[in-house]
């Protein structure tokens, strides 16, 4: 008989493999998927998720028609907490699209803080969450990040996230769908997070 911990490990690996290869969008799997994949370290993902050329409506992995959430630089790339990142390389940016250092100060390509015409350091611009803060500011709909799904993009696992709200319209202006949202919410816009895990 196998040891209990071995049984658990095997079940977790089997679940993560099934999740990664599954093509159905179910809200509870969206919630569970990230945690399970993280727990198994991504090895199951690497085996199960075949690199595919995900047909993207406007970014890799996004195969539906819901538009991107508002963002500084044209693509809604976020960090794990929902703050904006530069789409090209994942560098943190502020709400104005400027690269920022770890303390939030705007920097140039060499990492030096930007200065005003008289040589003073520029003030930190706001840096807020694309789903919760930007959509609330513009649409007053109380958006929250909920469901997610995963695709292999550029050799790494991309997590695509629904920004969900109680609005019947999505950011495109037409009717919204439930998607991976729950608790009565519907998909308003989408964002993505690049995990860096190889696939």
């Amino acid at each position: 008989m196998r040891r209990p911990d071995a049984l658990f490990d095997g079940a977790a690996r089997a679940l993560s493999t099934r999740l990664a290869s599954g093509m159905t969008r179910r809200s509870f799997l969206g919630r569970m998927g990230g945690a399970v994949l993280a727990a198994t370290g991504g090895a199951a993902v690497a085996a199960a998720v075949r690199p595919e050329k995900s047909e993207a409506f406007h970014f890799c992995g996004h195969i539906w028609t819901t538009g991107s959430c508002l963002n500084p630089l044209g693509l809604p790339r976020i960090d794990k907490n929902g703050f904006p990142l530069r789409p090209s390389d994942g560098h943190p940016i502020d709400n104005l699209g400027r690269a920022v250092n770890s303390e939030g100060w705007a920097v140039d390509g060499s990492g030096h803080r930007l200065r005003s015409p008289d040589g003073d350091f520029l003030p930190r611009a706001p840096r807020t969450r694309l789903c919760e803060d930007w959509t609330n500011e513009h649409y007053k709909i109380g958006g929250v990040m909920q469901g997610a799904w995963y695709r292999c993009c550029n050799g790494q696992v991309r997590k695509l996230v629904d920004c969900c709200s109680h609005s019947n319209k999505r950011i495109n202006g037409d009717a919204s769908l439930t998607g991976y949202c729950f608790d009565g919410r519907r998909v308003f816009c989408v964002l993505y997070y690049d995990s860096g895990l190889k696939c």
Binding site: P72, L73, N95, L96, G97, R98, E103, G104, D108, L114, R115, S116, P117, D118, G119, L122, P123, R124, A125, P126, R127, T128, D133, W134, N136, E137, H138
Partner: protein
């Protein structure tokens, strides 16, 4: 014109099409180039004078087209060089004809509208917009080259029918020019006239006197420009000027100084971590850097003890910027990672108001008078100079700069004239713009 490309029994349909295409393309490009040039020149001249000139010209042109006024119009009484057809390749002369007609001023001008369009392109002050508008003139030229052939089997017959309607065209033209006069006259009220005042940043203004800071050879100096014929006064080293009549406040390495700029006599000195003065004598507002916190302080510099009053305070990671003080109102911005706001304190009633608050954008660098406030709103797609009248709900945009390479920055306001710094972060080059609204 189209018969010129393919005279009777000479030339194929494809030859005709090629020639028409080249003619049209050249006409469009030439017209757009004229528009772009005029728009560029207009951006140097200033919108308001050009608008007034365009409205006046349009009025005179309307009278001329209506037959009320006899006015000669500048034109070159020439046609396209016929000999080109025999001496040049088809591709060259068809394009050459198009370019010549597209330029507009190398041929007959039966109506004055072309010159009105030139004046309006100057007033636009925007090369791209003026090029796009003027390209329509080239499109019209191209259309007239082709249209008669499609209307009638005989092109000349179609043109003669059009000539027969010349009086109707003149009257319609007069009506259009009359409408243009109305629109141009309204334009200064609807928009703002922007003029560059040259290198500098951190503008300050009081009535006709204007001040700005400027970096010269690594040293920041303040230039105070009174109305002519008084000369410009220069204070160095000095930064962040604030003006009130003959009083000038500025910051330097030691703190803040207030002087009478007419004779450079000192009025008051505040030595310490003080910066960004705003002056409405005897009141002086400034930022005090306390290390962990930054405070906006209001003081009475006519009193020995200053009677300092803390107005606002933020953690050092946030920013209170460059306050503004005028007409019993004190304005400042508050920028933090979680959002920004423009705030005003009415010194007479002690009421505070948030003029604009946002969790997303950066609202910065306000300036006030007793009736209005201006500030700069920064978004990823560009920065805008905003204006609001106290007691009114509507916010108006006085000007906008697109993109992130060039930004609007600090402001000043006096009457119906706003000043704003426009600068390029990568080069740190800055100019001050005057915006009349």
């Amino acid at each position: 014109m189209v018969e010129t490309f393919t005279p009777a029994v000479c030339g194929s349909r494809s030859r005709q099409r090629i020639a028409i295409a080249l003619f049209a393309l050249a006409a469009l490009v030439a017209s757009a180039a004229v528009g772009a040039t005029l728009g560029f020149v207009g951006s140097l001249v200033g919108t308001r004078p050009a608008l007034i000139a365009a409205a006046a010209l349009s009025f005179l042109a309307a009278l001329r087209e209506a037959g009320i006024l006899r006015l000669p119009i500048p034109q070159s009484r020439r046609q396209v060089p016929e000999r080109w057809q025999y001496e040049r390749q088809l591709t060259l002369w068809s394009a050459g004809y198009g370019a010549g007609l597209g330029l507009g001023f190398l041929t007959f001008q039966p109506v004055a509208t072309f010159w009105v369009a030139c004046a309006v392109a100057l007033a636009l002050g925007n090369p791209a917009a003026a090029a796009a508008c003027f390209a329509l003139y080239g499109a019209g030229r191209a259309f007239m080259a082709v249209w008669p052939r499609h209307r009638e089997p005989s092109g000349p017959a179609a043109v003669e029918r059009l000539v027969g309607r010349a009086s109707f065209v003149s009257r319609a033209n007069a009506v259009v020019l009359g409408l243009a006069v109305v629109l141009l006259a309204l334009a200064p009220a609807a928009g703002a006239a922007v003029t560059s005042l040259g290198r500098g940043f951190d503008p300050a203004a009081d009535g006709q006197t204007f001040a700005r800071a400027r970096m010269d050879s690594g040293t920041v100096k303040v230039l105070v420009v009174p109305p002519a014929p008084d000369p410009t006064d220069t204070v160095s080293p000095a930064d962040a000027p604030a003006l009130d009549g003959s009083y000038l406040a500025y910051e330097d390495d030691e703190g803040i100084k207030v002087i009478d700029w007419r004779n450079d006599s000192p009025v008051r000195e505040l030595d310490g971590p003080y910066s960004h003065p705003a002056l409405d004598y005897p009141l002086l507002a400034y930022i005090r850097d306390g290390g962990a916190h930054e405070r906006l302080v209001l003081a009475d510099i006519s009193k020995p003890s200053l009677d300092e009053r803390n107005i606002a305070s933020v953690h050092s990671a946030a920013d209170l910027g460059r306050p503004a003080l005028r007409g019993h109102r004190l304005a400042w911005h508050r920028i933090a990672s979680g959002g920004s706001s423009i705030n005003v304190l009415d010194l007479a009633t002690n009421n505070r108001r948030v003029i604009k608050q946002t969790d997303v954008w950066m609202e910065a660098n306000p300036s006030v008078t007793s009736r209005r406030i201006v500030w700069v709103e920064h978004r990823p797609r560009g920065s805008s100079l905003r204006m609001k009248r106290f007691g009114h709900k509507r916010t108006k945009t006085l000007m906008h700069v697109s993109g992130r390479k060039t930004l609007l920055w600090t402001t000043a306001l006096t009457g119906r004239t706003a000043y704003v710094t426009k600068w390029t972060p990568s080069t740190r080059k800055a100019v001050v713009l005057r915006v009349n609204f």
